[in-house]
């Protein structure tokens, strides 16, 4: 008899619970009308950023392309008159990209970055192939201050040997002999 009573109370509790939920506000977020604010580091659409001086950060080192697990990044490197390297063309196939962020981790110059913008759907799959001009933006992304050539020990228009940030003057090997 007690088990029958238990069964009835269990059923009643269940029905009461669902009935109470009938009067609650639905927790659904209705997507196109309401867009949930995404964290700044959400991984979605990829951009190519510029340094504070407005130059392209990308030095076409191919590290992102090598790190990419699905091989969706391809480029061709070239060199400017001022000895800076750049990508002659840069292409990301977003139909293939898995938004893992490994390219961003591999990048030595903070050029390639992922942004929270995820609404990149297209009817035509070929429109998902982004060229360099589609990827390039006119800001520094997450790191606005960093300029690779101010730190790297390469002679460019930003400084010669020993003139970069935290760089010692070159040692004269002949005076350094024991």
């Amino acid at each position: 008899m007690s088990s029958a009573f238990e069964a009835v109370t269990a059923l009643a509790t269940g029905f009461a619970t669902t009935f109470k939920h009938l009067f609650r506000k639905p927790i659904t977020e209705e997507y196109p009308e309401y867009k949930r604010p995404l964290p700044a580091r959400t991984r979605a659409r990829i951009i190519l950023t510029r340094d504070p001086d407005g130059n392209e950060r990308c030095v076409a080192c191919y590290l992102c392309s090598a790190a990419c697990p699905v091989s969706c990044i391809s480029m061709q490197s070239a060199q400017k008159a001022n000895d800076r390297r750049y990508a002659a063309w840069f292409r990301i196939n977003f139909a293939r990209c898995i938004y893992c962020g490994l390219c961003e981790e591999a990048c030595p110059t903070s050029a390639i970055q992922l942004t929270p913008m995820f609404e990149t759907c297209e009817r035509d799959i070929l429109k998902l192939i982004y060229e360099k001009e589609d990827l390039l933006v006119d800001h520094g992304g997450k790191d606005t201050e960093y300029n690779f050539y101010r730190y790297a020990g390469i002679v460019t228009d930003l400084g010669g040997k020993g003139e970069h940030v935290k760089e010692d003057q070159p040692v004269n090997v002949k005076s350094n002999l024991p």
């Binding site: 619970t17 669902t18 609650r24 639905p26």
Partner: protein
């Protein structure tokens, strides 16, 4: 001449009831989805039209234009016929449900029921039993293990619950002294039978839900074990017919519950047809609420509930009702 006019009126009644049933079935799907969603603190479909009111139309168009595939290994004729059996038997059951008292148009007396069979209740059971064939044959003819298991389960479940469904209505027949649904409604002029037969009502509702394969008893479809059960291999409008049959069946069971226990079309103020409709919707909402609350029974629990609880309870109820009727007379 009278014969021809009677025939024309019959055709009009058939058309109205058929269109009504199909339309209500389509919108019952929407009601179920919306109501179930609210019980699960969701919104449900709200994109097609205002409040999702065009959703049934969109679904119908989708069903119609989808490819209708027949598996190569399937038994073609039976595979193609099975969905029709389910929809057809569900629709036929409504033929004996009275929608109101007789009305008079231009001197002709028209009963608001398609046919007042004197064995209406038995006709309902016969159609309900035939509906099993749609499920069992559809499952078998698909030549797929999931479909076959679903079909077997469907047959076993529906045959078991047919018994308690029938036995639960014996006291009603004893009270009304007739098998005709019109007479049963007329016998409830003073009070609906639910007041004197609550046990019978509970048994009927549980068995009816098992008959219509709704959620605590949806073992024939059991989507997480069997894909979609007996209609796994169906697509397009053939699947649509199974779906339609299910929702027409839901309406029919609501109507039968109303007829047997809630006084049918009887009610104050509002017109009779509207009262019947309100009762059907009310029963449907309760069924959806049950669906939102209870998990699916295990196969052995299902059989145990049917054979060890409902059938004996119904038998005791019959004996008890008989004894009370004997003493009172």
């Amino acid at each position: 001449m009278d014969w021809i006019i009677g025939f024309i009126f019959l055709l009009i009644k058939l058309l109205v009831i058929l269109v009504g049933l199909l339309l209500v079935a389509a919108y019952l799907v929407l009601v179920e989805r919306k109501f179930l969603a609210r019980l699960q603190i969701r919104y449900g479909p709200n994109r097609a039209g205002k409040f999702g009111l065009l959703q049934p139309i969109a679904d119908t168009v989708k069903m119609m234009v989808k490819e209708d595939t027949v598996p190569e290994a399937a038994e073609h004729t039976i595979f193609k016929l099975a969905p029709a059996v389910v929809a057809f038997t569900a629709l036929l059951m409504f033929a004996v449900v009275p929608l109101g008292s007789d009305i008079t148009i231009g001197g002709y007396k028209i009963p608001l029921v398609i046919t007042d069979l004197n064995v209406g209740l038995l006709f309902v059971f016969a159609m309900s039993a035939l509906g099993v064939y749609g499920v069992a044959l559809g499952g078998w003819a698909s030549n797929s293990k999931y479909s076959l298991l679903g079909g077997i389960r469907g047959a076993a479940q529906m045959i078991s619950y047919e018994l308690s469904l029938g036995l639960s209505l014996v006291p009603i027949v004893m009270l009304a002294r007739s098998f005709s649904l019109v007479d049963i409604v007329n016998a409830q002029v003073d009070y609906p039978f639910i007041l004197v037969q609550p046990v019978s009502f509970v048994i009927f509702i549980i068995s009816a839900m098992a008959e219509s394969k709704r959620i605590p008893f949806d073992l024939p479809e059991a989507e997480n074990e069997l894909g979609a059960g007996y209609h796994t291999e169906y697509s397009g409008m053939r699947f649509g017919l199974f779906f339609l049959g299910e929702y027409v069946h839901m309406q029919v069971l609501g109507a039968l519950t109303a007829v047997f226990f809630l006084g049918g079309w009887r009610g104050p103020l509002l017109p009779p047809v509207l009262w019947l409709f309100i009762k059907i919707i009310l029963i449907s909402l309760i069924m959806i609420w049950i669906r939102a609350t209870l998990p699916r029974l295990r196969y052995d629990q299902l059989m145990a509930l049917g054979w060890k609880v409902l059938v004996p309870a119904a038998l005791v109820n019959i004996v008890f009702t008989g004894a009370v009727l004997l003493i009172l007379n």
